[in-house]
Symmetry: C2
Subunit: 102 residues, 2 copies
């Protein structure tokens, strides 16, 4: 992961609307686009714009199931970016109990 890629991860988190989306996802396992937009209080068009930024930075991953797309935080990307500004950062292997993970 290059310096530019790491900066892109932080840029994805640098906007309050996107940060809200990611913080919502951090507590909720996964959400579909419509729910994300509704909970964040934004239009689906605006969600689509921000979703693209988050996806291109690999901060989230998306999976289509039927009509909807479901979205999760990609922890590996956050960990890789955070490690460089905090070399000895340790992360817990387990996720909070209210969040089921595959």
């Amino acid at each position: 992961m290059t310096l530019e890629e790491r900066a892109k991860v932080f840029a994805a988190l640098a906007d309050p609307t996107r940060l809200k989306l990611v913080e919502m996802l951090a507590c909720e396992e996964e959400l579909c686009g419509t729910d994300l937009a509704r909970k964040a209080g934004i239009s689906v068009a605006l969600l689509s714009h921000h979703w693209k930024v988050l996806t291109e930075a690999k901060v989230v991953v998306r999976e289509r199931r039927g009509q909807s797309q479901f979205c999760q935080v990609k922890r590996e990307t956050l960990e890789a970016a955070f490690q460089n500004v905090w070399p000895n950062l340790r992360v817990r292997s387990a996720w909070p109990s209210n969040v089921a993970r595959g």
Copy 2:
């Protein structure tokens, strides 16, 4: 720390030049402005601009000693911002052995 303040922390890390500065500081304990600019390969004027952004986001702290200002990463700020996108993030209490901390 509000959503906007957390976003501001990530915005401070979102530019490759500033991220480089912070990553340098993460490995080097502290550096003065002239050394930061030289090691990052930028002008002092540009450093001054970026330094202001990092300081206002509280990502670094600065201290004047004589003619120079010395700069360190402020770990508390990073931890507070990171916690919200990664609720169960654990940080090591100790800093790497090559880095002396007050």
